[in-house]
């Protein structure tokens, strides 16, 4: 098996696997990181979004070879209960979910947005999340939470 290296949440990671396998299957399988969720397997729902560099991508549709030597950030690398990302704080503050299954992918889309556009409008947030599906109808809370995080991050 070919050996592929990338940085996963800042940690040098080596995987021996078929390079055509999806990043999602590598994360959830051999790497045992189940924070990134399977939703459709066809890049249509955003549940498995991760950041590659500063861009949000569907891990189900991202072949392993394409992330060689790149920086991959998953929900596990975004923050923790002890050291939360402002987005995570804001999602708790706004109670911005119902079931929460879509939330890791949405958090990663939002994190990528805030890297590219630190002061988005509500319409910017909706556009950035338009490929993320939420079935419970938490959309408006989610938009509010992303704007709240942006506000917090803008404070010097």
């Amino acid at each position: 098996m070919p050996r592929i290296q990338f940085r996963l949440n800042g940690v040098e990671t080596t995987v021996d696997a078929d390079p055509d396998r999806s990043l999602l299957s590598i994360l959830r399988g051999p790497l045992g990181m189940t924070g990134t969720h399977f939703g459709c397997g066809a890049n249509e729902c955003g549940a498995c979004n991760v950041m590659v560099g500063d861009r949000a991508l569907a891990a189900c549709d991202t072949p392993l070879w394409s992330v060689a030597d790149k920086d991959v950030t998953t929900i596990e690398g975004l923050g923790s209960a002890e050291n939360p990302h402002p987005l995570q704080r804001a999602f708790i503050g706004e109670q911005a979910l119902q079931c929460g299954y879509c939330i890791p992918g949405i958090l990663m889309s939002a994190a990528a947005l805030l890297k590219q556009n630190p002061r988005p409008t509500a319409d910017d947030v909706k556009a950035a999340l338009d490929r993320n599906l939420c079935r419970c109808g938490s959309h408006n809370r989610i938009v509010r939470a992303v704007l709240r995080a942006a506000d917090e991050m803008a404070i010097p």
Binding site: S25, H37, E76, G100, Y101, L107, N140
Partner: protein
């Protein structure tokens, strides 16, 4: 006036009467914690937090001491199914009543120990103290007080004014785990030695597995077993990727029969009305005096099959140990699933343990129970190791039950003044419930696929006393002089249906509220005033007035914009909800804003209620504007998100919710209150904007064009 009946002896709440042993609900552990064990489960609605609030309030303990236990057939109270917006009503009332009695039991024990009268004792955060600095606590007394006793109806819960937590928007207990990626979902669990399974299902509806070549799949790395039992087949692998790969090869080696014919998706009403049916009179009201009918208005409304379409495909795990099996599931009812598993496996229920784990949002009877049986069947070939099975997106969108399509005809007789003097409402629909655990035959999909198959369960309707099914919300709350409500339940079921949020209420309220609007429009009467004039229930009028006020009813007309009202009391016994919708557009309708007023009685967690109402409103907007299960004559074709689109962030309306708090009225659920009135409000707003009355959901561009020219 007749004399009022003597008040009946106080009765226990229904869930507590069914599970009276106090210790099955509440225990005090030595570490200063309270363990609360409801029979209802978290399905994304936040119920666990609300139940914890109720327990902490009634026991006078800090909220942080409450530990909520997931439902399991090992020890949990059997509360049937988590459905029908009944969890606060049933579990909440049971926990409140049990805690009230437990509080009294501990006060009595403390009084004995401390030598202080009960009336002189008070409880603060679990510490029971009296005059002279004497004190003990729930935990100190726990060893001496047995809660292994049956609840009695005498205990009286606190009055609402003494509840500290109820009415407060406590943050949900499960949300931190979900934003910090702690494995809380069943999908994210890894049991020691766990294998992965996948099941092969036909694309053609009802197709039989004629031949299955297994050699190719056997050669796939990691394969542990191929299972075949009649039309049921699947693979077990060491890895999830291996299971996927083996399934793909197995699919290529499968030969299927041609399957069954599906109805014409563009002629659903004709199909529904042409089937053999079981007919029933839902309700009849006879006019008090003679009425004079001048003319009759008649309309037909339809809704399509609607998919649950949860973001996660269904998932389960199972592990055999000899003739005993343990199952992990996101089912809505662990005991009901266990009963059906026992039927399929021909085992006593004692041999089966079913534990709940959270899944993604659950909006009714989805594939959670089906995949549990799949896991159990595949795990038989796993040599005692646990097997995790997850459905594909396509199977989730085509093999899980759908919300049933409906055709509804309403006729109103009008007098010379255009007032309604008689009302007739007829429903044609498949049943709206085919849940497991309630019949002598199982309702689980794989049960119909085995070599010795069980018959396909044709869905039925719950009785009106439980809210009804296809007939849910078909009895008008409006004070018409007379009516006749009929339900025609199909006895055939080419497209599998079962419970989806609101059951028949979405269709019935869409029809009633649309028709009322049509009559009001003919009369030239304001639709809000028209409704208020026909309502006698002040709580109903209050939500309509509140929504109208908040939406500044009726804003001035602008070209391309429209406003509509919708109202319902869910199941005619639950939450009241009124909605004003603002829409815009000509070809594609956009819902700009929904303004809702809601009365759930006592709102234990107001933000939780608002969250549910917002979510219901947005989900209903998606149903109304976009959703329709698609099929040709052989197969369900809407098997992906591109073929079954749902509302996206850029399409979501603003949602404003006004909550009318009634702390002294029994709390009722909020999860299904918004869907039906939102549906009607949008349809009525579309008419206001475009003067086009769309009577067939969803309100898409094609349907608008068809409604403009009914002859086309």
């Amino acid at each position: 006036m007749t004399n009022p009946a003597p008040s009946p002896a106080p009765a226990l709440p229904v869930s507590l009467a069914a599970n009276p042993v106090l210790s099955s609900w509440i225990r005090f552990s030595s570490e200063g914690q309270v363990t609360v064990s409801p029979g209802k489960v978290e399905i994304g609605q936040g119920i666990v937090t609300t139940l914890a609030q109720i327990a902490a309030d009634e026991l006078d303990v800090d909220f942080s001491r409450v530990q909520m236990v997931r439902a399991s057939t090992v020890a949990s109270p059997n509360e049937g199914v988590t459905s029908g917006s009944l969890s606060v009503q049933q579990s909440g009332r049971a926990i409140r009543q049990a805690c009230a009695e437990i509080r009294q039991i501990f006060l009595a024990a403390a009084s004995d120990q401390l030598g202080v009268g009960i009336d002189a004792l008070e409880i603060r955060d679990g510490t029971i103290s009296g005059p002279g600095n004497v004190s003990t606590s729930y935990w100190e007394l726990a060893d001496k007080v047995s809660l292994d006793r049956a609840a009695t109806p005498g205990a009286v819960p606190k009055p609402s004014s003494e509840r500290a937590l109820a009415g407060n928007s406590v943050q949900r207990l499960d949300i931190p785990d979900k934003v910090f990626a702690q494995p809380r979902f069943i999908h994210d669990q890894a049991l020691p030695g766990m294998l992965h399974g996948r099941v092969l299902r036909p694309e053609l509806s009802g197709a039989k597995l004629a031949d299955l070549k297994q050699d190719g799949a056997r050669a796939v790395a990691g394969l542990v077993a191929i299972v075949r039992d009649g039309n049921f087949s699947g693979v077990v692998s060491e890895t999830e990727a291996g299971a996927e790969a083996a399934l793909n090869v197995l699919r290529k080696g499968a030969t299927w029969s041609s399957g069954e014919t599906l109805p014409d998706e563009n002629r659903l009403a004709e199909f529904l009305k042409a089937q053999p049916v079981e007919s029933s009179v839902v309700d009849e009201k006879v006019a008090a005096g003679a009425v004079e009918k001048k003319r009759t208005m008649r309309r037909q409304y339809t809704r399509p099959y609607v998919a649950h379409a949860s973001i996660a495909p269904s998932c389960a795990m199972a592990q055999w140990n000899g003739d005993r099996v343990r199952v992990w599931t996101h089912s809505q009812g662990v005991y009901l699933l266990r009963a059906d598993l026992a039927l399929v496996l021909k085992l006593p229920v004692e041999n089966i343990t079913v534990e709940h784990m959270e899944g993604a949002g659950c909006y009714g009877h989805n594939a959670a129970d089906d995949v549990a049986l799949d896991a159990v069947l595949l795990a038989k070939a796993a040599g005692g190791r646990p097997v995790r099975v997850q459905w594909s997106r396509a199977d989730e969108m085509s093999h899980a039950p759908f919300g049933a399509a409906m055709a509804i005809e309403i006729e109103a007789d009008l007098d010379a003044q255009g007032e309604i003097v008689d009302w007739r409402h007829s429903i044609w629909s498949n049943g709206h419930a085919a849940r497991p655990g309630r019949a002598a035959q199982p309702a689980l999909l794989a049960g119909t696929e085995l070599a010795n198959p069980f018959p396909r369960m044709i869905s039925t309707n719950p009785p009106q006393a439980n809210g009804g099914g296809g007939d849910r919300n078909s009895i008008p709350l409006y004070d018409f002089p007379s009516w006749q409500i009929e339900s025609h339940r199909l006895k055939t079921m080419p497209v599998r249906t079962s419970a989806l949020r609101t059951l028949g209420a979405q269709g019935n309220v869409f029809a009633i509220e649309s028709f009322l609007d049509e009559i009001a429009a003919e009369r030239g009467e304001d639709p809000v005033a028209f409704r208020l004039r026909h309502l006698r229930d002040e709580r109903a009028k209050d939500v309509i007035r509140a929504a109208a006020r908040r939406a500044n009813w009726k804003p001035e007309k602008r070209a391309g914009t429209g406003y509509g009202i919708g109202f319902a009391r869910y199941k005619n016994t639950g939450a009241y909800c009124a909605v004003v919708a603002e829409v815009e557009g000509a070809e594609d309708i956009r819902v700009r804003r929904l303004t809702l007023a809601v009365d759930v009685g006592e709102a234990i967690n107001p933000d939780g209620v608002i969250n549910q109402i917002e979510g219901g409103a947005i989900q209903a907007t998606s149903w109304v504007l976009k959703e329709r299960v698609r099929f040709d004559d052989r197969r369900i074709t809407s098997t992906s998100w591109s073929e079954y689109p749902i509302l996206r962030f850029s399409e979501v309306p603003e949602v404003a919710v006004e909550l009318i708090q009634r702390p002294d009225s029994d709390p009722v659920g909020a999860g299904e209150a918004a869907h039906a009135p939102v549906t009607a409000a949008i349809a009525n707003a579309v008419f206001d904007a475009l003067e086009i009355r769309v009577r067939d959901l969803p309100i898409t561009r094609e349907r608008l064009i068809a409604a403009m020219d009914p002859g086309a």
